[in-house]
Subunit: 444 residues, 2 copies
Amino acid sequence: MSNPSLSSPSPTLERLNQTLEHEVPALFAALSPLGRRVIFPPDIPFQAAQARGKELNATIGQITDGRGGALRLPSLARGLAGLPDERLDRALLYSPVEGIPELRRAWREHQRRSLPQELRGVPSSLPLVSVGLTHGLSLVADLFGGEGCSVAVPAPFWGNYRQTFTTRTGARVVSAPALLDGRFDGAAIAQALAGVPAGEPAVAILNIPSNPGGYSPTVRERETLRESLIAVAETRPLVVVCDDAYAGLVYDDEIPRHSMFWELIGAHPSLVPVKVDGSTKEVSFFGGRVGFLTFGVDPESGAADALESKVKCLTRATLGSPVAASQVLLLEALLSETLDDEVEALRRRLGRRVAVLRQALDGVDRNLLRPLPFNSGCFALAELPEELELSADQVRLHLLEHQDTGLVSIGPRYLRIAHCSVAAEKLPELVHRVEQGVREMTRK
Amino acid sequence: MSNPSLSSPSPTLERLNQTLEHEVPALFAALSPLGRRVIFPPDIPFQAAQARGKELNATIGQITDGRGGALRLPSLARGLAGLPDERLDRALLYSPVEGIPELRRAWREHQRRSLPQELRGVPSSLPLVSVGLTHGLSLVADLFGGEGCSVAVPAPFWGNYRQTFTTRTGARVVSAPALLDGRFDGAAIAQALAGVPAGEPAVAILNIPSNPGGYSPTVRERETLRESLIAVAETRPLVVVCDDAYAGLVYDDEIPRHSMFWELIGAHPSLVPVKVDGSTKEVSFFGGRVGFLTFGVDPESGAADALESKVKCLTRATLGSPVAASQVLLLEALLSETLDDEVEALRRRLGRRVAVLRQALDGVDRNLLRPLPFNSGCFALAELPEELELSADQVRLHLLEHQDTGLVSIGPRYLRIAHCSVAAEKLPELVHRVEQGVREMTRK
């Protein structure tokens, strides 16, 4: 869609949907009413794309020098002085709605750079740029959610899935209890969706490494999970959203680091994997809001074009275009030869925290606090024993008031420890305070 | 909402809505079903806000050094080297969902800095940060749009209002023909809404300076417009969205530069002005995506708190949080003593283009092209005479193919010239080519 030809002014919605129905029938069947009716409209950005390269181009409403360069206000441009001069203008001017082409290509390479040999041939689209991962999820929710749609999420899960899917689109989030006696249960999603009438499309969310669990399944657990998802796809079109926010942050050598997305592509004709990832955690750029949405289809396919048109319509309707400044900063980083080493150093640093935290949690009184296994991501979970009759939020408020310590409470009895924001040497003290806080409450 | 107390963990939705109904009854009456049901949930960002300042804070899932500082990847941070060291971390880490407090205060001052004496006392909320102006509009659409809601827009208008209001929320965009024989008609909105049953809330959009018109009404036209909106508010709750994207870019001295927003606050109990603005055009930061949403209420009021909670829920559901990096860059610019001069220099530069373009358009054959009055913003419109029986899009495609020139076509017979992206010395040639292109088509 980036170089629309003049002779065929704009594809019709009917043709776009026919292409999807033909090339990826399960994906088409799973589209929401909104997902079916969106198409990038032939208005300003479309017309501007057609005018690219013309000698006189008076299409776009951005202020330039007349040759495509920004009119830089020194007070604003100063902060970006670390960028090469030729890239500074791109940071100040609009991004294409689908994202900056070089960045999309660079991220696709980044995504595929360390795939196991047997997965290197699987197709994946050129990633579409979103404004952070939540925006990627909300695009998925717009495309595949909607009133009454069932969205299965392994619990405990990140609460914002409810806002993104339910509050906005009216979808029904189905909690899939994925911790059985503290162990990961790969069949939880299939069980949670068992009550949905056969043939009705559904969505499942995989968040590996997980938030709040800080857990990535083992090779065997992944296999169970994959087989279980394929079994669901036997009964209905199943969109599997791989929320790969914490991709790469894995601290145990025997745990696979690549996204389940790659193993799900082509696994079953009715299984539709979608990848949501970004630079927030992978490159530690929390303030940049650069995410990506990737489909398991060939970049040159009609399906890729059709999905790009639909996503661009949604992005334009909600945000206009994604953040050029952050995209340029991320592109600079991806082009740097030292980036991989910097990311690896960060992973090792977090790995040390995880080791310290594990040791500290190993020593806690199981009558007060039951740590769950964790091996990846930014978090660890501890469960309050049911017999204490304390809610996680009661404990959280007690810790704030009496232990000068902040944690996040989840569900009825989980406490989430974000080791990503605590120095290693403070973690034993933190665990001590949590234990102490719970003890105080049991004595009341 | 930025410092939630521990004793009252989170306000209920019922209480929030009661506050709005009591303090701003017309605004409450105009809320969409979605607008009524949203409230910032007491999950991670809420709990993290409660934990701010605690000695051990393990709430937020962002990677830090344990003392709130970013773990900067050199390849990423390099591009932002122009920022003072103490602000670099804020650019790399998450923004609060409502925006960075100093920026919100600085933008409020920026908004109010050149108000006429008689308007300096009007209340306005602390602006909420959005991801560019389109996101601000989509927040308004979520709050006040929805299935069947009438949204009146003076025509010709920016086509993306359709995506933002209709595609996303199902609202009905009502075109209000605001050009009568090439002159601005301040009563167009009232006429367009006349058919909507009395008592039913409605939305009107004011885009001054306008896109695509490049027009700002005169003092007298503003007065007509204001009175006409007040008359509508006699019959129904009326949300007036001031899309101030091009605020300040006014080139005729007798045309008021301040937003109509300020004159509408308090104008009628049933009139609800909302301001959408941002740094995209005002500070020429197209790639930054920093917008603001402002209500005509006191920053310390319960209504301001309630609206903030609702907007934060919508932002979190769609985007997580706004862009910290761009906010920090904008804050740096706003703190600069030379910014006003830089913006003024830019305005004068565009003013010269406008003068050149006017002169060129004055000379065109009115049988081929009829320029409309323009005095502000980034654009000028020319109308194709009806008797030529040419559509604007036919002419646009002809100009691309035969004159190496790109314009935007709008509605049946308008061509939009974005002088903001063409150098002054090229504008006469551009006008010549458009005239020439139309002439060629009439000879076929």
